[in-house]
Amino acid sequence: MHVQNITALFYKQIKDSLKNTPVLVLFIVFPIIALVMTQAMKGQAGMDSLFVSMFSTMHCVFTPIMATSSIIAEEKEKNTLRVLFLSNVTLKEYLLSIGGFVLLANLITGSIFLLFTEYSVKQSLIFMASLAIGSLISLVLGACLGLYSKNAAAASGMAISIGMIFAFMPMLANFNSGIEAISKFTFSGQISYFLAGKDVTVFGLIVLVINFVLLFAIATVLYSKSIKED
């Protein structure tokens, strides 16, 4: 693994994304909605924490899936991804750089949620750690969708559907025990517990690890397929 490849791709992605308005908007949409909603419902007990928990889960799950899949699918569509593969860039280097950018951008914009809470330092650290882990798993899922799709439009369609399922499932689980039974085995379900300030459990950590390993294995297979054309 070459560090210069990772840093070069990371800086490329910053420059590219700064000129890519749709991707930039993705990173701020949920914090802004949370800001508007908390201000609109100000004074009503429990609303601040409800909105922060709900929208931070969406920010942590939906945004990295959308951003990563759209970045990778665009690279596939415009054939820059193939050029990278043929320039000695490996999957790890590529995912670390693109993922590093998405993770960093998601954490910076996600920290806005803390402005609407009265979390202690410890709670804030757990919140940011949960945001980081959730974003990491989501961006690997986004990478799978981006690598699987033939173009940006196809990736966008799949990412919206799958992103919404994973982002909304934890919220719906609050109202339906059947959905909760499924949700607790998904990374977004566990992350929503952590973001809501619930205790971190061993079961929750195991679910996160299994989700990550499975998705990373799928991403590796899809990457190998995208090097060979046939």
């Binding site: 070459h2 210069q4 490849n5 840093t7 070069a8 791709l9 490329k12 420059k15 590219d16 000129k19 890519n20 690279e75 415009k78 054939n79 820059t80 991804l81 193939r82 050029v83 043929l86 320039s87 000695n88 860039v89 490996t90 090097i227 060979k228 054309e229 046939d230």
Partner: protein, 280 residues
């Protein structure tokens, strides 16, 4: 020494055979041209040679088998394919710097590479470049790490004659520097001008292989001489001793503006071998 060695290569897509028992060699430091109409299998062969496609048979590039190429090979080859992408939102300079960093190439080399292909406005966003300028940028990027072998897939297709000539000049410079160039084209004038050896590819078969001039002479069966007269007329006469007096009479009467041998060009050779035109 051979840079590329192919023996009995075959390739099929969905039971359709695209390449059929192809064999050829490309010597180091030469420009090799693979000529054929669209769909003949030219791009497929480049993809096989650069490890992007599986195949049956034997293919080697710089002594390494193409079905198990080490990724380090990509620091020794350059590619300009019709689907080589560029980052449209980045500037020419940023596009080049990304690949420069992969290969530890310094900034001044990047600027020189861009100048070499005639791209002087390095801060111009790539999305504002014309097709010809994008092609130059891709070529500059392929040359950045001084590759030993350069693969060019229809490098001047769709370009204006001036830009095409600039690219031809650059390719001849690279050849003089010792770079092996594997070029696909359906432009027989380009192939004749640039290539040391060519192969004519039709429906997955090599129908002819050799030095362009030799191939044209080989198929010069009619052996005609063409005389352009001062009054604008062109007279063609079979080049044989019995016609020497007739040819001499044109000179004696001061009618001759120019005289040429009229051996077939590569296009005519290709047509006579396959019944098809090259530029389709």
């Amino acid at each position: 020494m051979n840079s590329i060695c192919i023996k009995d290569i075959s390739k099929s897509f969905n039971q359709k055979q695209v390449l059929k028992n192809l064999s050829l060699t490309v010597s180091s430091g030469e420009i090799f041209g693979l000529l054929g109409p669209s769909g003949a299998g030219k791009t497929t062969l480049i993809k096989i040679l650069t490890g992007q496609l599986s195949y049956s048979g034997s293919a080697e590039i710089m002594g390494k088998s193409c079905d198990s190429l080490d990724r380090s090979i990509y620091s020794e080859i350059g590619m300009v394919m019709d689907n080589s992408g560029i980052y449209e939102r980045l500037t020419c300079y940023d596009n080049m710097m990304l690949f420069a960093k992969f290969n530890n190439v310094k900034k001044d080399v990047v600027v020189n590479a861009l100048k070499r292909v005639g791209l002087t406005d390095v801060k111009l966003s790539a999305e504002k470049l014309s097709k010809g300028m994008k092609q130059r940028l891709i070529l500059a990027r392929a040359l950045l790490h001084h590759p030993k072998i350069l693969f060019l897939d229809e490098p001047t297709s769709g370009l204006d004659p001036a830009t095409a000539n600039e690219i031809h000049r650059l390719l001849l410079e690279l050849k003089a520097d010792g770079t092996t160039i594997f070029l696909t084209t359906h432009n027989m004038i380009e192939a004749h001008k640039l290539c040391n050896h060519i192969a004519l590819l039709n429906e997955g078969h090599i129908v002819e292989f050799g030095i362009p001039d030799d191939i044209c002479r080989k198929y010069n069966k009619e052996n005609m001489i063409s005389i352009l007269c001062r009054d604008g007329k062109t007279v063609t006469i079979i080049n044989k001793p019995e016609n020497a007096t007739q040819i001499a009479s044109y000179f004696a009467e001061e009618k001759v503006e120019a005289i040429h041998s009229s051996e077939p060009n590569l296009e005519t050779v290709f047509m006579s071998l396959t019944g098809r035109e090259l530029d389709i």
